[in-house]
């Protein structure tokens, strides 16, 4: 039962609940018109304390497609936070107006804190480098749409695997399904954290390998998950400049990949995927964006109790 629940981290959802959301999202992809009024009379607040055009618009579009309304702010300067209001007070106030809140905040743990003071469900739309559960749902809906299911895949994660929260969440999510293997491709400075290996991969008995060159392993992959080296995750700009171009996917590398491999990316990209790759039928990152909206539609309609 998802009605009235907060979604703070991907693990808040059971495998069955993920299946339920993915199945509903698939129905919405096939026949969106059938769902255009399911949230009529409901209000979504999008509280974005840091800019994120894509995620915010995706949430807002999702609610509008369901027939609901949206209100909110797109950066902290337009909120009472700029006057020194606490997050708890902002949440107490807003949650008395609306039916569901999607919140992004640069501080880790902000969504959990908000959930303790909210009168309505909180959906974490990203809390710093911590959790971004609806991105994970987006990735899962995309994988199920394009690969037919969650089992038996070899998934390559490439780029910033140290700070990339989307990578950590997707690894955790895919560990819950049978027959998956992972290949982690990154520079030494940005390898997958040891706690993911110790606490997630090892207990689940998931086979994995590491590589430093994408072209050495790309031919083994069913799914390639590219990530951006995020400037805001670095304290030191020199480190960022040194590492940002480490792993670029181009047409030459795509020639080495399987014909049915899919390329995913949480976006926005900087230059880690060459624009020439966009026309390749295996490039699925813009489809992923669309599926993300349907994933959020399914989630909103479940959490608000409309479906």
């Amino acid at each position: 039962m998802l009605k009235g629940r907060h979604l703070i981290e991907p693990d808040d959802l059971s495998v069955e609940e993920i299946d339920e959301i993915c199945s509903l999202a698939e129905q919405m992809i096939v026949d969106p018109a059938a769902f255009q009024d399911v949230c009529r009379g409901k209000i979504l607040a999008t509280l974005f304390f840091e800019p994120s055009t894509r995620t915010r618009l995706s949430f807002e579009a999702a609610m509008l497609h369901l027939g609901g309304s949206v209100e909110g702010f797109a950066d902290a300067q337009s909120s009472s936070a700029s006057k020194g209001e606490t997050l708890a007070d902002t949440i107490r106030v807003v949650s008395s107006y609306v039916d569901i809140i999607a919140m992004r905040n640069p501080k880790e743990g902000a969504a959990l804190l908000a959930s303790k003071y909210s009168a309505c469900p909180i959906v974490n739309a990203g809390d710093g480098g911590h959790f971004h559960p609806t991105q994970t749902l987006t990735d899962l809906v995309t994988i199920r749409q394009l690969r037919g299911g969650f089992e038996g895949h070899t998934i390559g994660f490439c780029g910033d695997l140290k700070f990339g929260r989307t990578v950590h969440s997707l690894v955790q999510a895919m560990c819950r399904y049978k027959g998956n293997k992972f290949i982690f491709i990154s520079p030494q400075e940005l390898t997958i954290p040891e706690y993911i290996v110790e606490n997630v991969l090892a207990p689940a008995g998931i086979p994995y390998e590491t590589a430093t060159r994408l072209e050495d392993v790309i031919d083994k992959l069913d799914i390639l998950y590219m990530t951006r080296v995020q400037k805001e995750r670095f304290f030191n700009e020199q480190d960022y400049i040194r590492l940002k171009d480490s792993y670029i996917l181009d047409k030459e590398k795509m020639k080495l990949a399987r014909k049915d491999m899919i390329v995913l990316h949480p976006l926005p990209r900087v230059n880690e995927i060459a624009p020439a790759v966009d026309d390749d039928p295996r490039a699925a990152y813009f489809k992923q964006v669309k599926y993300g909206m349907f994933a959020r539609m399914a989630l909103i309609s479940k959490i608000t109790g409309c479906l």
């Binding site: 501080k107 880790e108 743990g109 804190l113 480098g129 954290p193």
Partner: protein
């Protein structure tokens, strides 16, 4: 050196030498309206030396915090000058407001009204995680936790 025996009160024994003052302060004994003694560097067979706190009153203590500061501590409850109960500390499953999260990105750093809460994740390694940001800490000597990266 002699300190009077206690009629009704508490003796906090086996405190790691040097940590006694922090516990004395944390319990508010420096401004208490009853007698309290902090005895430092007492010879100990087990550890060489230790600190002891004697409190001439039965006061409520959050044993979980005491266990976090030093799990080797033993609290003796004294009634009519006799030990009626010995309580051995252990690492608590949850500690609140004993220390602040050091992760600059943690929400508790800017939202000061939020109680800093840490949950025990590995008893053997004395490993705690921040409830909010999941930063890891190892319970350190005298309750000074060490930020830990795994």
């Amino acid at each position: 050196m002699n300190v009077d025996t206690i009629k009704n009160g508490l003796v906090i024994d086996h405190i790691r030498a040097g940590s006694g003052w922090r516990i004395f302060k944390w319990l508010g004994l420096d401004s208490a309206p009853f007698t309290a003694a902090l005895i430092m560097n007492v010879p100990s067979q087990k550890t060489g030396k230790k600190d002891i706190i004697k409190i001439d009153n039965i006061i409520d203590i959050d044993f979980s915090v005491l266990g976090f500061i030093d799990p080797n501590i033993c609290v003796n409850i004294i009634k009519d000058e006799k030990i009626i109960r010995k309580i051995n500390m252990e690492l608590p499953t949850r500690v609140q407001n004993v220390f602040q999260c050091k992760n600059p990105r943690c929400i508790t750093v800017t939202e000061h009204y939020v109680p800093s809460t840490f949950l025990l994740v590995d008893k053997k390694k004395a490993l705690y995680r921040c409830e909010y940001c999941d930063a890891l800490y190892t319970a350190g000597e005298g309750g000074y936790p060490v930020e830990t990266r795994t």
